[in-house]
């Protein structure tokens, strides 16, 4: 039953997004027969280091979505304090509620079934514009962001160029 609910909800969201695209990203399925794997392209937000980039990512939804969060992994190269070296995105709203039932993340920052593909991707875009170096997933990137901003900028503009070429 949970299975059908998840796929119904995902299909609904996909339909809505195709009908009324949201600025900043585009979304589709990796494989039309599998509603649980999405291919999304996030456009580097204007006035940030990532401006102009086209970053591909894969969203994998669990069978009990929306009660558990999907995972998001960049397939384009990414250099960001909150993205693991293997591309996985680490933001608090993608943390299952069980991970931290009443710990240091505020309730409003954790996963909630109210989140949709749209709200998740908007959160990732917000993450791109303001990295959070308080709990870094990529320690090297976080250090560079804090201590050697110029090198960080250089590295990011390289990956932005790369993403444009690949696009």
């Amino acid at each position: 039953m949970a299975d059908t609910q998840a796929s119904l909800l995902l299909r609904k969201q996909l339909k809505d997004l195709t009908r009324r695209p949201v600025e900043g990203f585009s979304a589709g399925l990796v494989d039309d027969s599998n509603i649980f794997e999405w291919n999304v392209t996030i456009i580097g937000p204007p006035d940030t280091l990532y401006e102009g980039g086209f970053f591909n990512a894969i969203m994998s939804f669990p069978a009990n979505y929306p009660n558990s969060p999907p995972s998001v992994r960049f397939t384009s190269e990414m250099w960001h304090p909150n993205v693991y070296p293997d591309g996985r995105v680490c933001i608090s709203i993608l943390h299952a509620p069980g991970d931290d039932p009443s710990g240091y993340e505020l309730a409003s920052e954790r996963w909630s079934p109210v989140h949709t593909v749209e709200t998740i991707l908007l959160s990732i875009i917000a993450m791109l514009s303001s990295p959070n170096d308080e709990s870094p997933a990529n320690i090297d990137a976080a250090k560079q962001w804090r201590d050697a901003r110029d090198e960080f900028k250089k590295k990011v503009s390289r990956i932005v160029r790369q993403s444009q070429e690949a696009f």
Binding site: L9, R110, V114
Partner: protein, 612 residues
């Protein structure tokens, strides 16, 4: 402290219920149960002289019965215990009483009262105090939103359906639910939301409204209305558990499979606890009771004995204990800011294990710790290494103590099963065979309880002995002397209980009458008890007699006197039963346990006891 006492007052009406779990069905309110017991007393008072005497005997017999079947050493049963054993029903009753009280005092619903209590360690007085000091702070912290007027729907009757924020489908308003806020979701989404939280563990007790911007807490009312039977059961179970786990005055009995909890009575001096399941444990460290040996010694010893040394090595190498609750934590991802899982929730720095509240930019941020670096330079972390090396060198010494510790543990387990066997079948057989009432066979149970208790004490003395410093030779000698004395007495008692009972059961012991056997066994029990009392006393004052030898006599005598008066009060038979003459014609003094030769009439050591 004051608040804890208040708390006790508030609950005193129910505080005894844990002892009478079977009465729960008969009396559904505190008042009822009081009345029930009062009536019982009334009956007793109404007896005339003869019947009174009979009643006394009967009561005596009743408590013997208890001792016969509880497996609890008889001398702990009669004292006012500084703790209460709680069954699951008793916990629920206390929760209900607390909820009732908070709900009526604060004029809120029971579900809300339950939420508030869960956040305040189930302490009624604390809830009252904090609520009346700052109601909005409590409301905010728990997540109770004051009921605003129901959503705008009331004004717009034409809107019959609203969109559920989770499944994005439209549903009829009346089928939708919200907690104490205005965020309505459909029932199946609520059910799935609650189900996920319940499957994730006790964190479901602090479930909030699915809307990320809303702080409203989801109460038990709503959850129990929505979820399936299995989830209801789990959720109720978590609520019950929260009473014990979030409450510093209560603990679960650590025996495997035991479902009783122990609640400590404020103001009492608590050390060893006997659960209704028969398990004896230390309140402080939750290990098996180890009086007179200290918790630290026991902890070191148990860690040392851990048969899962490979696991231990892995845990040592790959995890660190939470600085607060001591559960081992493995760090596999992320920064140095660690938050322990509920109910502990302690936040600390992985490197220096200090509280996270003292960390930040100053100490190097989220992936370094200056404090740790400084401590490392001071050599603080070499200690574990050194200890490991020492243990290796003393392996042989360790084996000596370990073997004796383990064999006493084995004997204790055997004695416990023998005791069970005795209670189940042998007592009845003996009673039939020798035409004696069960109450006359109490001495057998007492002997076995004594054996179990002594094996336990003896076992721990080996752990103590292992850690006794090598350089304190006199202490060591004295300790070994006391231990040897006690051990010899115990072996004699154990032998007698094991072998001679068998003889009387099989019926080939015609040469020794059962009365003689009884006298002998009871005597040995009492003698062994004295030896162990002496050993325990010596341990508890840290073998201080080594420095002042006169202290021995006074402490031992004082404790023996105290015990005599107690045993007189409980049984008059034991006076005669205590005199025992062994195979070589020695009789043992009940005061100093000295073995006197058969011809003397007064104890030649302490001159206190006269042979009758």
């Amino acid at each position: 402290m004051e608040s804890e006492e208040d708390m006790l007052d508030a609950r005193s009406a129910t505080s005894d219920d844990g002892f009478y779990p079977n009465n729960d069905d008969e009396c559904d309110s505190d008042r009822m149960s009081m009345g029930y017991r009062y009536e019982e007393e009334d009956d007793d008072d109404g007896m005339d002289g003869d019947e009174d005497a009979y009643e006394d005997d009967f009561l005596q017999y009743g408590s013997d019965e208890d001792a016969l079947h509880s497996g609890r050493p008889s001398y702990t049963g009669r004292q006012q215990l500084p703790y209460t054993v709680l069954t699951e029903e008793a916990i629920t009753e206390r929760q209900d009483a607390a909820i009732e009280s908070v709900a009526s005092v604060l004029s809120i619903s029971r579900a809300q009262a339950c939420l508030i209590l869960r956040k305040h360690e189930w302490c009624v007085s604390r809830v009252n105090e904090e609520w009346f000091a700052d109601e909005s702070r409590v409301r905010n912290c728990v997540g109770l939103i004051e009921k605003s007027i129901k959503p705008s729907m009331t004004g717009q009757r034409d809107i019959r359906e609203i969109k559920c924020g989770i499944c994005l489908e439209y549903h009829r308003i009346e089928t939708m639910q919200a907690c104490c806020c205005d965020h309505y979701f459909c029932q199946s989404c609520w059910r799935a939301y609650a189900h996920t939280a319940i499957c994730d563990g006790p964190g479901c007790l602090s479930l909030r409204c699915p809307n990320p911007d809303c702080n409203a807490a989801v109460g038990d009312e709503l959850i129990l209305k929505l979820v399936l039977e299995e989830d209801k059961r789990k959720y109720r179970h978590y609520i019950t558990r929260s009473y014990v786990e979030e409450n510093r005055r209560a603990k679960w009995c650590p025996a495997p499979g035991c479902e009783y909890a122990i609640e400590f009575t404020p103001g009492g001096d608590i050390q060893d606890v006997t659960c209704n399941c028969g398990h004896n444990f230390c309140w402080n460290c939750s290990e098996e009771a180890h009086r007179p040996v200290e918790c630290v010694t026991v902890e070191r010893w148990i860690l040392k004995n851990s048969a899962e040394s490979e696991n231990m090595n892995w845990i040592l190498a790959n995890s660190k204990p939470c600085p607060k609750c001591k559960r081992p934590i493995e760090k596999n991802l992320g920064c140095m800011h660690i938050t322990c899982t509920p109910p502990c929730k302690f936040e600390f720095c992985w490197l220096c294990l200090g509280a996270w509240s003292e960390h930040g930019e100053r100490t190097g941020g989220f992936y370094a710790c200056n404090r740790y670096e400084a401590e490392k330079k001071e050599g603080k972390h070499d200690e574990t290494e050194r200890r490991r090396e020492m243990a290796k060198n003393s392996l042989e010494r360790y084996t000596h103590y370990y073997e004796r510790w383990a064999s006493n543990e084995q004997s204790k387990a055997k004695a416990l099963s023998d005791l069970k066997q005795l209670q189940i079948t042998q007592l009845e057989k003996l009673s039939d065979k020798h035409s004696l009432p069960m109450s006359q066979l109490k001495f057998l149970v007492e002997a076995w309880l004594q054996i179990v208790e002594c094996r336990r004490v003896l076992k721990w003395t080996y752990a103590y002995g292992y850690y006794l410093p090598e350089n304190e030779a006199t202490k060591k000698q004295f300790f070994e002397y006391l231990q040897g004395q006690a051990e010899t007495a115990l072996e004699r008692l154990h032998q007698c209980a094991e072998k001679e009972v068998k003889a009387h059961l099989d019926g080939d012991a015609s040469n020794v009458t059962f009365t003689d056997f009884r006298t002998k066994l009871a005597g040995l029990t009492s003698v062994t008890k004295n030896y162990f009392q002496r050993l325990v006393d010596a341990f508890e004052n840290g073998l201080a007699e080594v420095k002042d030898s006169t202290a021995v006599n006074t402490t031992v005598q004082a404790s023996v006197k105290g015990k005599c008066s107690r045993s007189k009060a409980s049984s008059s038979r034991s006076n005669n039963a205590s005199r025992v003459v062994d195979d070589e014609g020695h009789w043992y003094c009940r005061h100093c346990t000295f073995a006197n030769t058969g011809c003397s009439t007064t104890c030649s050591m302490c001159h206190l006891e006269t042979m009758i």
